[in-house]
């Protein structure tokens, strides 16, 4: 399959590129696009600074020299960008941007654009879903699904799996941990897509759309998370959350503050 990693920065796309390259089953390309139609010049300055300052600069430069990076000067839904995407004849896009995609953009990919969302669909759509799951005593996890133009409303869910975050000492750490799993989840989702074992799970919108959480509930969710954090011996723990299937940390977790995550929060 011909896969495009859609990202706002090159270092941000690299972990996914490297993870998928290990599978050696796909033709990969990175598409760098501006955050919005108004941020072109600012984005370029950021790209250059990142390329020069980040530890992955040599890998980024190597990727550029191989011609594996396509840079869009206009927003993804701009006619020129759409034309360029069509010419690339892509099968699947992997969301790693801060953008919201319009239908015209989605249609430029034969199968669609995948999103790794840090919530278990169909129950948890929208923002702060990890925090909401913790607050409400529900399992936390990641769902990989084909997006549509709504907010986490895409019907076709490829993979939806619980992830244990009880080893994390804060909500920020837990979120960063889930973000770091995006490359792994994308690789597994693509493997399922390429196999005959895929059983679509339908996003029937039976869950709720969540919104950014208040400081009050955020602090409460953190407190609840810490009830399950492994404490030094002799100290008690709170009620158990039903997290299961802990996934090993990604071998190349995203550096802190590395662009936007492909995992929607």
């Amino acid at each position: 399959m011909r896969i495009a990693i859609l990202a706002n920065t090159l270092p941000g796309a690299l972990p996914i590129y490297e993870e998928l390259q290990r599978a050696d089953a796909h033709d990969l390309v990175v598409i760098i696009c501006p955050v919005s139609s108004r941020t072109g010049a600012r984005d370029w300055a950021k790209h250059t600074a990142r390329l020069l300052l980040k530890s992955r600069q040599f890998k980024s430069l190597a990727l550029l020299s191989k011609g594996k990076v396509k840079i869009l000067r206009h927003a993804l839904d701009h006619p020129r960008s759409l034309e360029r995407l069509a010419k690339l004849k892509l099968d699947v896009g992997l969301h790693k941007t801060g953008n919201i995609y319009r239908q015209a953009t989605i249609e430029r990919f034969r199968l669609g654009i995948l999103n790794a969302h840090i919530g278990l669909l169909p129950g948890y759509r929208g923002r702060s879903v990890m925090e909401w799951s913790v607050l409400q005593g529900d399992p936390v996890g990641i769902s990989v699904f084909f997006i549509d133009s709504g907010i986490d409303t895409g019907e076709r869910i490829i993979l939806s799996e619980q992830v244990d975050i009880s080893h994390c000492a804060s909500l920020i750490e837990a979120k960063q941990y889930l973000f770091s799993l995006d490359a792994l989840f994308y690789r597994r989702a693509l493997a399922l897509l390429s196999s005959n074992e895929l059983n679509w799970k339908r996003n029937d919108l039976s869950g709720r759309r969540y919104y950014v959480m208040s400081k009050l509930f955020n602090q409460t969710a953190e407190k609840i998370l810490l009830l399950h954090h492994p404490l030094p011996s002799g100290e008690g723990r709170g009620e158990g959350l039903s997290y299961s299937g802990r996934i090993d940390p990604h071998p190349n977790p995203l550096p802190k503050g590395e662009g936007t995550s492909g995992i929607d929060n």
């Binding site: 409400q136 509930f217 409460t220």
Partner: protein, 239 residues
């Protein structure tokens, strides 16, 4: 009670105390026509009566209710409120609401007319309208305020929506609605007296928010009580 419910209840108790203090600290004179109403609300949440004035008469509902006046009246009582009036076609109304997304005055008028008796906002027939109101409040209005300032939104429109969300929070277990109030309580300036046609809405927002917090705390305590009884019964059976 589970440690999780306990943590939520503690947070809500702290917040309720904070809201009551904020209400008590408001200067009635700054609120013009709403000064008397604010004084009554302050009295209702005074330290002698922390949960609100149960003896306040239950507001009457009738065909000619004024939404803003009804919100003020509801904020002054903790007695159960009737919400059985059926409203006209919700789907058509939602469409009208979506069409006036750039006309805040019209949106205010539409909402105030439909929910002239605000508890009807909690009817099951209004579910999609509630979702729409919550979404507009937590996405569009929030973004405008955070990117620009509170002056970037129509205060009447925003506050009416928050009041309706608060009325629904009195009825529902869905914490998203209560958290929208939490969020705006943290976002809005503490001494904000809006330049609005209905300045009383900022006061009723605080009053209804306090009631919603109180109701949720009581509900958590009821869960705890049931848990304890169930636990005792189970223990006895085990023996």
């Amino acid at each position: 009670m589970s440690a999780r419910e306990d943590a939520i209840r503690d947070a809500l108790k702290r917040r309720l105390s904070d809201v009551r203090n904020r209400l008590a600290g408001l200067t009635p004179e700054a609120f013009g026509d709403a000064a008397d109403y604010l004084k009554r609300l302050q009295q209702s949440f005074s330290s002698e009566n922390p949960s609100g004035n149960d003896s306040a008469p239950v507001p009457a509902r009738n065909g000619g209710n004024d939404c803003v006046a009804a919100l003020c009246a509801i904020s002054l009582t903790s007695a159960p409120i009737d919400s059985t009036i059926q409203s006209a076609d919700a789907e058509q109304f939602l469409e009208s609401l979506k069409q006036c997304r750039n006309d805040s005055e019209k949106r205010f008028r539409l909402l105030a007319e439909r929910f002239s008796w605000p508890p009807t906002f909690s009817l099951s027939s209004e579910a999609e309208i509630r979702e729409h109101v919550l979404m507009r409040t937590m996405v569009h209005d929030r973004a405008r305020i955070e990117e620009r300032s509170i002056a970037g939104v129509d205060a009447d429109d925003l506050l009416l929506k928050l009041n309706l969300v608060a009325v629904h929070s009195l009825e529902t277990d869905d914490l998203r609605f209560l958290d929208a109030l939490n969020y705006y309580y943290e976002l809005l300036p503490t001494d904000w007296v809006p330049r609005a046609r209905h300045v009383s809405l900022v006061v009723s927002f605080l009053g209804l928010y306090a009631r919603a917090l109180h109701v949720r705390i009581l509900r958590n305590q009821t869960i705890a009580h049931c848990d304890t009884r169930e636990h005792s019964a189970r223990s006895a059976a085990d023996i």
